[in-house]
Symmetry: C2
Subunit: 275 residues, 2 copies
Amino acid sequence: MELVTIRHEGGTRAGRIEGDAIVLLDAPTVKEVLTADGGLAAAATADGGATVAVVDADLAPVVPKPDKLVCVGVNYRDHIAEMGREVPGHPTYFAKYARALVGPNDDIVLPPAEVSTSIDWECELALVIGRSVRNVSGAAALAAIAGYCVLNDVSVRDWQRRTTQFLAGKTFEGLTPFGPSLVTADQVGDGSGLALSTTVNGVVKQESNTSHLVFNAVDIVSDLSRVMTLDPGDVIATGTPGGVGAARNPPEYLKPGDELVTTIEGLGRLVNRCR
Amino acid sequence: MELVTIRHEGGTRAGRIEGDAIVLLDAPTVKEVLTADGGLAAAATADGGATVAVVDADLAPVVPKPDKLVCVGVNYRDHIAEMGREVPGHPTYFAKYARALVGPNDDIVLPPAEVSTSIDWECELALVIGRSVRNVSGAAALAAIAGYCVLNDVSVRDWQRRTTQFLAGKTFEGLTPFGPSLVTADQVGDGSGLALSTTVNGVVKQESNTSHLVFNAVDIVSDLSRVMTLDPGDVIATGTPGGVGAARNPPEYLKPGDELVTTIEGLGRLVNRCR
């Protein structure tokens, strides 16, 4: 099953993709689908009484305002090497706030040049939590994952590096595309074995496979659930492979007019124009 | 004016302190007071038709679920020295999620010993944003601050230090007391010149003054508003002075039965029993 959140009649609505149509559901976003009685099972057959053609849909971030948006850094060996870091013994977490998110086909409005010109791409497998869990591992951690999406952890490198903590460079408003849909875990399993890539203006910049994650989705959910309860609609981005702009010689960054395409096998793609 | 969020009839209600009584307002939390038409000005005279005695009130975190809970690290010179760090050229930001928060008089339930035994105190001046702002500085940054509270950024040191990023050790569920009230900025100005302290079982562990902040409230709001829009109810904790347990020889950490008291001049205090 594929669920989306679309902009509709001045607000948002959750929907289920059925072929060329989106069946609207009685929930403003996918988060409320997950928290409602019956959750995904109910959403599989629900019908809000109207449809929108997929080609006409204006897609919002799948979860526009997650309670938690957690990112994992330094989690692919080739990216660790290109950034000159060590393979960590534990997952490295940092946050974004919801103001960072944009829809899967929205424009990315770059910050003014006087704020930064080092805006970089980071294609990532994102998972969405489907039920509240604490201190889980193994099968229970896997069962907590509602499904998977594509996220590009677009990063402002000079702000990321001006102190020891990444947050400022990671949560710039409106730079992080997220979507296009939530593909439920019954279609994707633990999220391993999926090809993922970034292209800029049609040129491949990142190309890897989620099997190369140091800590996979289950590892991350297990570890993070020691820290706090994970809740329905929480989003975790699992890290990016090699090929980021900052590691190139000379470095390459996004500029106005660039088309950024982020693709994960089985999950679809984000197509975002920079301006 | 002092505003609180109290637990009331199975939910929460915002209130305004008037002497020994809390006048209930038509808003579930202080966040909705700030986002409502009229904001603080309206709250100064509003009356929801009922009162609760201050001594009977069960205080919740002033803003139980902020859209953003941002913390500033390494922001007092004596704490920077005791942690062996350099004075940074920019504010160092990291996040907590709302699940970290507890009320000003709630128990702090320490993690099991097998998860961590290095739970440390960090008294901090917190500010609450009162209006949406982006790219502000000076007087406009000051005007964006609705008021101030006390927050103890209780930290799990081994989890904070196991990777380069602080987040995991900073956002453990239920360790961060926050309150007791929002004291509006007309009483506190820019938050400087306030004595702040931590005691554990009556013994002073931290004792400093907010005038020793490297980056003050206006600096932080100005800088952070370059990154993203700050919204009503957003909370920013400004950092902790010297005297944390991890910097003591030998290190000292919180243990079951300890009473943690966090006080800021003019803002009141948090009294939390560890168990």
